[in-house]
């Protein structure tokens, strides 16, 4: 399940690079996927955990880093949902990030942090510092995930519904872990607590995978038609601008292709070519003008 999540997040990270360059509002969700990948990496999904942790002193700092990266991933994802749902930022918005210094401080207080182990938390659950460390991490996650689900309540249609579905499973996973921490540390029912806690891993990664898969399908289903509609036109117009020297700078046509969305790039190229014709009192050959007119008609039809 973790490897599936790595594959999904890697695809999202790579495929969305052009969007991130061109559209400022797309950046927070991209940062979320990068932090998600970083969290999975330090968890030992790609490189063995022992190797990563040995570079960090061999005292399970990788575990702390994984928690911080995962929290940041969810936080930035939450920021994108906030933009999608057009929700204002209130004082509670940054509250989950307050758990990071608490996690660092409580991690520092954990006794006998070595050796490196994937079950670092479980083996030391008798320590209050571990309960605070793990509990504050899970509380922050739960708060953020529930807030995302709440913000999505009017938007959860179509593929966005997979976001809510996946995150509900994540919320269930986090609730299991919180229950485990509380029961194990503050009650005598350790076996029962462990049985509940054992659900965390499978639910957490299954929920995140559902969300990431929904996101990837959403991205592909929206972007592929746009690529098919504008890519050839954008390249042709950029080529024409370069060929006739329609710009003051030779770099401008390529920069517009790189820096603007395809539709805006097409629009900009059309304007630059009109300016060129007006400014030089010249006209393109009929075949070229015919194609420009066709592209313009297509652009008009989009409005």
């Amino acid at each position: 399940m973790k490897l599936l999540l790595v594959a999904l997040l890697t695809a999202l990270c790579l495929l969305r690079i052009p969007s991130v360059v061109k559209v400022a509002e797309a950046r927070a969700s991209w940062v979320a996927s990068v932090f998600g990948l970083a969290a999975l990496y330090v968890l030992g999904t790609v490189t063995p955990l022992a190797t990563i942790d040995s570079y960090l002193g061999g005292i399970n700092v990788a575990n702390l880093l994984q928690a911080i990266f995962a929290l940041l991933a969810i936080f930035f994802f939450n920021d994108s949902v906030r933009r999608l749902a057009n929700v204002a930022v209130r004082w509670t918005y940054y509250a989950p990030l307050l758990s990071i210094p608490i996690m660092i401080a409580s991690f520092a207080l954990v006794k006998d942090k070595a050796p490196t182990s994937a079950d670092f938390i479980d083996y030391r659950m008798d320590q209050l510092a571990i309960a605070v460390y793990s509990g504050s991490y899970m509380l922050a996650l739960l708060f953020t995930v529930l807030r995302i689900i709440y913000m999505l309540r009017h938007k959860a249609r179509g593929l966005y519904a997979t976001f809510s579905a996946g995150l509900l499973v994540v919320a269930a996973a986090v609730s299991c872990h919180l229950t485990y921490v509380l029961l194990f540390h503050f009650s005598p029912w350790h076996t029962f607590a462990e049985a509940i806690g054992s659900w965390f891993d499978r639910l957490f990664y299954a929920g995140l995978s559902v969300t990431a898969a929904g996101w990837l399908i959403l991205f592909l289903s929206k972007q592929i038609p746009k690529l098919r509609l504008w890519m050839i036109d954008a390249l042709w117009l950029t080529g024409l601008r370069i060929r006739v020297h329609a710009d003051h700078s030779r770099v401008s046509p390529a920069w517009d292709l790189f820096n603007e969305t395809l539709e805006n790039g097409v629009y900009k190229s059309l304007i630059v070519l009109h300016n060129y014709q007006r400014g030089n009192l010249t006209a393109f050959p009929e075949s070229v003008q015919g194609r420009i007119n066709q592209i313009e008609a297509k652009l008009d039809a989009q409005v």
């Binding site: 969305r16 969007s19 559209v23 509002e25 797309a26 927070a28 969700s29 994108s80 949902v81 933009r83 999608l84 057009n86 996101w215 959403l218 991205f219 929206k222 972007q223 003051h248 539709e263 805006n264 629009y267 900009k268 059309l270 304007i271 009109h274 300016n275 060129y276 007006r278 400014g279 030089n280 009192l281 007119n293 313009e296 652009l299 008009d300 989009q302 409005v303």
Partner: protein
């Protein structure tokens, strides 16, 4: 010459989300305290693509008949950019008009025009026109897409 960031000024004028030329003209009319008229002018245009003339009681934006709707709107937005920039008390671009145009605007208080030079003011208003076109074209389907 220091010009304000275009995106910031567009946001101040139109807020977030989509807009229309009608809304932009209405807002600029309030800012300038004069009606703004869009006038299709069928005389000889040469290399010019649009110009605006400010009178005592009105501001006229002249533009030639165009086959391309997008280009026509872009040229008008360019002139609206001049009007907006002037309302911010920045320097004006120098007009370059034909005899007929000068006669037409003989009693104007000030004139700016849309040609294609590489002047900072012209670059500013051209960028303004691009930004406005994005907001206008987004009108029918504007929705933030932070996950795409």
């Amino acid at each position: 010459m220091s010009l304000p960031p275009v995106a910031e000024k567009v946001q101040e004028l139109c807020g977030d989300g989509a807009t229309s030329m009608e809304e932009v003209v209405d807002r600029l009319t309030i800012i300038c305290e004069k009606p703004i008229n869009l006038v299709e002018y069928k005389e000889s245009w040469g290399a010019l693509t649009a110009f605006k003339a400010e009178f005592e009681d009105r501001i006229n934006v002249y533009f030639p008949p165009q086959k391309s709707q997008q280009y026509k709107l872009h040229c008008i937005y360019h002139e609206l950019g001049h009007i907006y920039l002037e309302s911010l008390r920045t320097s004006l671009a120098l007009p370059n008009l034909s005899e007929e145009m000068l006669r037409e605007t003989a009693d104007a208080i000030s004139i700016t025009c849309r040609s294609v030079p590489n002047h900072p003011v012209e670059r500013w208003v051209e960028e303004f026109a691009f930004e406005m076109s994005k907001k206008t074209r987004a009108r029918s389907s504007f929705e933030p897409e932070p996950f795409l």
